[in-house]
Assembly symmetry: D2
Homo-oligomer: 164 residues x 4
């Protein structure tokens, strides 16, 4: 496998939430993706960019347009997007309808990376593997599985992604 | 992607080392793979079996024969093997020369899962993704990358895997 | 020092907050005090009771009356209370005005124990040491320091306790 | 309680062991005490010095003489010493026979701080509390308890300290 560069686009989501010890609330400070790549001893050629830092429930159509534009304009043909889980399927649909010549994998986490029991590192590892091996298309990688953008839904009662 | 069952064969390695607080040494107690799958909220259909719990420097040809036999006999055609990094390439070579009709991915960790800064969860996530998407063959998944069994070596000075 | 029994009264607070991965909010489930004592290999003779599980901003005068009553009725003369930091000083004042024959130490945490970077274990260790060694009185133990109940305030801007 | 300066003398021990991912062995790199004080949001006036970084089984009488000399020469009258548990009692005895006008508390950990399940933060919190409140003397603080230097032994079978 050639050492093809992979782009990571950070949009926020639970992945990157932190605990504000003064207010006792959760907030976004900065992305943990570089630290996670370091922890994973990741040696892929990666270009990471933070596009926004938002809870995906607050993501607007303007935000989604920015994500689509960045994917289109990126020189890389393999892209991982970290994203809140609540509207991940919706953003994937925007991308799926507009971009057909790149492999794009969205992933996220149910628990913030900073907290003890996060699934974030597992999900990032799987997303980076899927993005290297899947053919062009837009996918969601969660729970160890991968789904095409138009065949997945979030089961909000159980907090998992499933075929739709 | 059909929900095809994946087999995980546990052989020990740094992945599963723990700290014995009475002797101050590292030892093997039991595998952490089920706990890691739980942490990753993994919903793949997985059958995990512990074949042995050894430091890969102590792995014998008999041990490798057992691993080959289990891969051959497994009803699953997609298999992940957790393995110490020191002789992972050697075990992969045994498998690569003998098994050609299954997708087998070996992975491990540079730091025990139990310790704070382990790469284990990242590697397990990537190995499970690679095993679902790669064609039949024997591979090593480490550092976010994947290598065919006959084109990889461990760089012991740097503690990473690289193309050979 | 005789192995005198110590009572721990749990009232909630940041100490015991957890992350609800379905709603993305913080909530109280159950106390982590027994797990923390186990982690600290604590061998003190301890009787732990959960009185309530509340954010200290939501604590009412009725709640404080319950705490005072439990301290008064406890057979132990040394008591640690885990409590949210926001109104810890207020609860300490209620206790300080009413109970003079026991050593009572309130402590808490700025970051939930479940999250990576909690001060909870450090604070619990110090509170248990202070309660064994200080004369009767009501104290707050935070930031490695201890203050009499009527000479302390929380500096909310900095998230620390200081002499008042 | 006046903000009297406390000296911390670091001598190594399990507290500060790390995992060398190249060799798979445990080693000493640098002390974690400042990081632990930061995690505990400790606001005590502390002067920390590293005297040595050794496994206490390797500690010599020369090392112990250095520790005694540093305690004697320190301008502070309250001193915490982080120390391996295996010979902590022996070092405490050297100190106890020679220094009578200062409060000296030795503490350590059964599991390295860097590893997930360390008792180190709990012990450091308790040692710093004991050193502020106990009269002059030499003590060992472990398992939430404190013992005078001449009334304690390590139960090596159980990995705990107990009255002797």
């Amino acid at each position: 496998m050639p050492p093809e560069r992979i782009r990571i686009l950070v949009t926020g989501g639970t992945f990157d939430k932190e605990y504000n010890e003064l207010s006792g609330t959760l907030f976004f400070h900065d992305t943990h993706v570089p630290e996670m790549l370091h922890l994973g001893r990741c040696l892929l050629d990666i270009e990471a960019r933070t596009l926004m830092m938002v809870d995906s429930l607050d993501m607007t159509d303007d935000d989604r347009r920015i994500i689509v534009e960045h994917c289109r304009a990126a020189p890389e043909s393999r892209i991982v997007i970290t994203h809140g889980t609540d509207t991940m399927v919706e953003t994937a649909a925007h991308l799926g309808r507009e971009i057909r010549d790149k492999t794009i994998v969205l992933t996220g986490a149910m628990v913030p990376y900073r907290f003890g029991s996060s699934d974030g590192l597992f999900n990032l590892g799987s997303a980076l593997a899927f993005v290297q091996t899947l053919p062009p298309g837009v996918y969601i990688a969660m729970n160890g599985r991968v789904f095409p953008w138009d065949k997945v839904r979030k089961n909000k009662g159980q907090g998992v992604f499933e075929a739709a």
